[in-house]
Symmetry: C3
Amino acid sequence: MKLLIAVIQDKDTSELQDAFIKNNIRATKLSTTGGFLKSGNTTYMIGIDDEKVQKTLDIIKNISRTRKKYMTPPVNLDGGANEGSYPVKIQVGGATVMILPMDAFHQF
Amino acid sequence: MKLLIAVIQDKDTSELQDAFIKNNIRATKLSTTGGFLKSGNTTYMIGIDDEKVQKTLDIIKNISRTRKKYMTPPVNLDGGANEGSYPVKIQVGGATVMILPMDAFHQF
Amino acid sequence: MKLLIAVIQDKDTSELQDAFIKNNIRATKLSTTGGFLKSGNTTYMIGIDDEKVQKTLDIIKNISRTRKKYMTPPVNLDGGANEGSYPVKIQVGGATVMILPMDAFHQF
Ligand SMILES: Nc1ncnc2c1ncn2[C@@H]1O[C@@H]2COP(=O)(O)O[C@H]3[C@@H](O)[C@H](n4cnc5c(N)ncnc54)O[C@@H]3COP(=O)(O)O[C@H]2[C@H]1O
Ligand SMILES: Nc1ncnc2c1ncn2[C@@H]1O[C@@H]2COP(=O)(O)O[C@H]3[C@@H](O)[C@H](n4cnc5c(N)ncnc54)O[C@@H]3COP(=O)(O)O[C@H]2[C@H]1O
Ligand SMILES: Nc1ncnc2c1ncn2[C@@H]1O[C@@H]2COP(=O)(O)O[C@H]3[C@@H](O)[C@H](n4cnc5c(N)ncnc54)O[C@@H]3COP(=O)(O)O[C@H]2[C@H]1O
């Protein structure tokens, strides 16, 4: 078995959580803080069989990788003509995953 | 030395904590969340000498293993005859423990 | 790469955080609790290249090692002559660092 430690953005957690349950990936969630941006993020600890490591990485990658999204900035509150409000491309998501060797796994 | 990561039920923490102190087992506690039930649980990180690993596992097993307990359901609030309130057997506790190799341990 | 798990006192975090950023040491912060004193402390998870491990240990040691500090106890609230308020030496800080082997590091 291996221990996967995956640090992801808060907004990707519910989709990732559902994918874990669907694929019978057991996990424990921690609320954490980014060292640089000092904003909240989420860390999963996942004890997983060696042969399921790649599949787990693929799930994390598909759901929480860094990606571009179009977002329309909030409407100009002055009520003026909405000229500033075209959709802009912003970067969201991102996942950092560390894979650690595990000597033993027990459940009591 | 090894790093033990033990995920246990919140209600077993105070008894487990006392047993750690009595047996000079040093630990750091994290508040965590179960991936499946999404309810709060507790994770201990325990840096421990190789020859104390088995003893630590025995303590965790004795105090926080899954076990059956008799509980009397809350009394029927309508005040009717208490027929529904015989003790029932429910399952409590449970511990998941992952043992990781450790390259070095420092205290400054 | 290695995973460093460093448990430090809360009051050393902002200085340590700044030193990590200055030295491009990437980290994730967890709010934790001491097993013995049951008071809040801080744990950093740091995925770091093998050749930067020593430098990271030196930074943690310099900023958060156990040290003596002179502190003047709060003034005697009865307003009496301030005879009790000479500076006394107290112990602060302290860092516990565990270094774990890492099989792989991914960023998506
Ligand atoms: N080696 C490692 N060990 C432990 N945890 C790690 C790690 N690498 C990343 N993380 C965790 O993953 C979060 C996202 O990292 P990412 O590299 O995608 O995104 C980073 C990166 O693009 C940038 N960044 C971080 N440190 C930087 C630095 N010293 N200089 C420039 N940019 C930095 O800021 C973003 C947010 O960083 P933040 O620290 O708030 O949040 C980080 C941190 O919580
Ligand atoms: N996909 C699934 N399908 C059906 N039943 C499922 C399931 N995932 C979990 N369960 C059941 O629900 C209980 C609570 O899981 P939870 O993820 O909330 O809370 C878990 C989780 O926080 C942690 N845990 C268990 N296995 C883990 C692993 N391999 N890696 C990381 N954390 C684990 O220990 C807690 C207790 O686990 P335990 O096995 O005693 O008890 C589990 C298990 O009996
Ligand atoms: N059974 C015991 N008998 C007598 N004195 C005891 C004791 N357990 C702890 N102490 C003392 O109390 C201080 C605070 O421990 P605490 O467990 O609250 O807070 C600890 C704990 O959160 C963590 N820690 C230390 N050793 C650890 C280990 N082997 N594994 C995991 N976490 C550890 O680092 C914090 C500071 O540890 P540090 O050694 O500098 O300082 C410790 C130590 O001087």
